[in-house]
């Protein structure tokens, strides 16, 4: 058993499902498409928005909470950034700053209700999910906010796509990496610093481990909970900006159901839904596993039925695989 000791570590267990998925990819490589870097560059781009949401979700889940509002908050951000940069003609920096503040504010609102009134996170963020979707529709008038703008005199014209959008939806390092992937990496790094290097991170784990014990040992539990939801809101805002940039418009319907994918990425990595255990490294592995599986299914043009069933199957496999080892640890 000693040779398998690495399997007892949480990262070891998270890597096995990823390895299985890679193996599937090598077997069904579709004339070598799976071995090309462009495939993986595309896959890394595709998981980036969800991965950014998953970073915030990791912070919340570590505290034993859940944030169902990320998909809707992301839509608010996508609509806002599109409104500000295209019809209103703001610069990228000021628009980004304002959208980040808006996302953080929505996260803070959820966090305040949870921390101050001790309402269950599931309920509060469910309410925020509905509210924020309404807000996105209100801001956009129910339509996509595009670069086709109506001028004050009533006529319409097409404005150039904002530099912010073009920058985010481009590739760097000799066209080998999408910018959104770098943004995802940056978000993961921030999450890692918060969780592993800051006192606040210890507090997040402590609150997730046992709320009462944390409170009694002098952890500022209220502020800690507030921080996790505020950061989740901010990450959702970043995800929304990336989504708008890649779609070249702000869609008030965007991000519907993304919260579940983000939760799946976190849980697939091995972060415990009951809080206190996990980390962003695991979430990265979870994100890669799901993303790569989707890519392989897409490359092979599997039917939707097969895709859904296989994805469900892999999820069950990954979760079951983690169980026996967890009880021994």
């Amino acid at each position: 058993m000693k040779a398998l000791a690495w399997l007892r570590t949480s990262s070891g267990r998270a890597l096995v499902p990823l390895a299985v998925v890679i193996l599937i990819g090598c077997l069904f490589h579709q004339n070598g498409a799976f071995f090309e870097w462009s495939t993986h560059r595309a896959l890394l781009r595709e998981i980036s928005v969800l991965g950014i949401l998953a970073c915030g979700m990791t912070l919340v889940i570590v505290t034993g909470g859940i944030d169902l509002s990320v998909g809707s908050v992301m839509a608010v951000a996508a609509v806002l950034v599109s409104l500000m940069t295209m019809p209103l003609g703001w610069g990228g920096l000021s628009a980004t700053a304002l959208v980040l503040m808006a996302g953080t504010a929505l996260g803070l609102a959820s966090g305040a209700l949870i921390a101050r009134f001790r309402v269950q996170p599931f309920i509060v963020t469910l309410a925020m999910m509905v509210f924020a979707r309404g807000l996105a529709k209100l801001l956009s008038g129910g339509k996509k906010v595009t670069n086709y703008v109506t001028l004050p005199d009533g006529s319409s014209s097409t404005v150039d796509l904002p530099a912010l959008f073009r920058a985010i939806d481009s590739k760097v390092l000799g066209d080998h990496v999408s910018v959104v992937t770098l943004i995802f990496a940056g978000c993961a790094l921030v999450t890692w610093v918060v969780l592993a290097r800051l006192t606040a991170g210890r507090y997040l784990y402590a609150v997730g481990g046992s709320y009462e014990a944390a409170r009694l040992s002098g952890v500022p539990v209220g502020r800690t909970v507030l921080l996790s939801y505020a950061l989740s809101g901010a990450f959702a805002a970043i995800a929304g900006i990336c989504q708008a940039a890649q779609e070249t418009h702000g869609d008030p319907e965007t991000g519907a159901g993304y919260e579940l994918d983000a939760i799946a990425m976190v849980v697939l990595g091995g972060t415990s839904l009951s809080g206190g255990r996990g980390g962003v490294g695991l979430t990265l592995v979870g994100a890669l596993t799901l993303g790569m599986l989707q890519k392989i299914l897409s490359l092979n043009a599997f039917s939707t039925e097969a895709r859904l069933m296989l994805t469900g199957g892999i999820l069950v496999f990954a979760v079951l695989f983690q169980r026996p080892w967890q009880s021994r640890a």
Binding site: D169, Q243, Q246, E253, L299, T304
Partner: protein
């Protein structure tokens, strides 16, 4: 009244209908007995518009078409209800509208079966019912107005054959294939391609993108990786075609292929064609304007056909500035 005359009336322009307005006051309209003064600017006809889901831009457009068409007639007032994609909520909303004593009901139902009963009850209370886009079961409604997805798909297929000169490699990005519009747009397209007559025409990649742009971009990226050459992409909606364009552009292959979509919303597909992003888009008409025209006829006591199938319009770079080309 003969069918052609009726059809002409239905598709008649608002001006012609404006001439009907005086008769709307004098003629014995369906509920005129209850309120003799209905149908004037002071006491306008009350129309209930039950929309199944305003989460889709196309349905937002439908409501807007109804609203703008109705605003031209001061003797009409429209109350809008959004069922948020819930059949039972829509059922309740239809009942609310009937209780509100509307003079006419326009409904775009979410599903046929659960809404057949409430629509039939409204119809039995002598409220004229115009069913838009999706049908209800039986015949207890006044008229159905809708478009034909198979026909529109077929037009897209024929356009593709012509644009490719009868040979080439095609990618099809499908709408939700468990939905009737997805199936019909697929079926029609394949009929239009006539693959048996064009052996050099091949559909090399098809994937279900579930009407969603981000999914379409992902699937297109897979198509670009596995297919060294793509001559045309047909997406079942314009957002899907736009997603495909973004993927092709990111791979610097957008010049290699033609892109076509369906729906042709003014601020979406038509605009994409204007900007040169799409090569063609085919209108899936909302029927909003036609519904108001028909409503005016019905309120004026005229009879209308039981079913009206709307035509489509093709928008290409050559005709987009002229408002597209009608395909009846």
């Amino acid at each position: 009244m003969h069918a052609p005359t009726q059809a002409a009336l239905v598709t008649g322009c608002a001006l012609a209908l404006g001439a009907c307005k005086p008769s709307a006051k004098s003629d014995a309209a369906p509920s005129a007995s209850a309120s003799a003064q209905r149908g004037t600017a002071q006491s306008p006809w009350l129309i209930g518009m039950s929309q199944c889901n305003l989460g889709e831009p196309w349905r937002v457009q439908m409501n807007q078409d109804v609203k703008l068409a109705a605003e031209k007639h001061p003797n009409l007032k429209v109350v809008f209800k959004d069922a948020q994609n819930d059949s039972l909520r829509q059922r309740a909303q239809v009942e609310e509208l009937v209780a509100q004593k509307i003079d006419l009901l326009i409904i775009s139902p979410k599903e046929a079966a659960p809404l057949t009963q409430p629509v039939a009850e409204a119809h039995r209370k002598k409220i004229p019912v115009i069913v838009l886009d999706r049908g209800v079961q039986g015949d207890e409604f006044t008229t159905f107005i809708g478009a034909d997805n198979v026909k529109i798909g077929r037009e897209a297929g024929k356009w593709a054959v012509k644009a490719l000169g009868g040979k080439g490699l095609i990618v099809e990005l499908e709408g939700l294939m468990t939905s009737t519009p997805g199936q019909d747009r697929h079926k029609g397209f394949r009929e239009g391609l006539e693959l048996e007559k064009h052996p050099d025409l091949k559909v090399v990649f098809e994937a279900d993108m579930q009407w969603l742009e981000p999914n379409a971009r992902k699937e297109m990226e897979s198509a670009l990786t596995t297919q060294k050459k793509i001559d045309l992409v047909y997406a079942h909606n314009d957002p899907g075609a736009h997603g495909a364009y973004l993927a092709a552009k990111a791979a610097s292959r957008d010049k290699e292929m033609k892109l076509i979509g369906i729906d042709a919303l003014p601020h979406e597909g038509v605009e994409y064609v204007k900007q040169g992003i799409l090569d063609a888009t085919f209108l899936y008409p909302t029927g909003g304007v036609e519904a108001i025209d028909t409503a005016l006829d019905l309120l004026a006591g005229k009879s209308v056909p039981k079913k009206v199938v709307l035509g489509t319009r093709a928008f290409t770079k050559d005709n987009v500035s002229l408002g597209g080309e009608a395909i009846p």
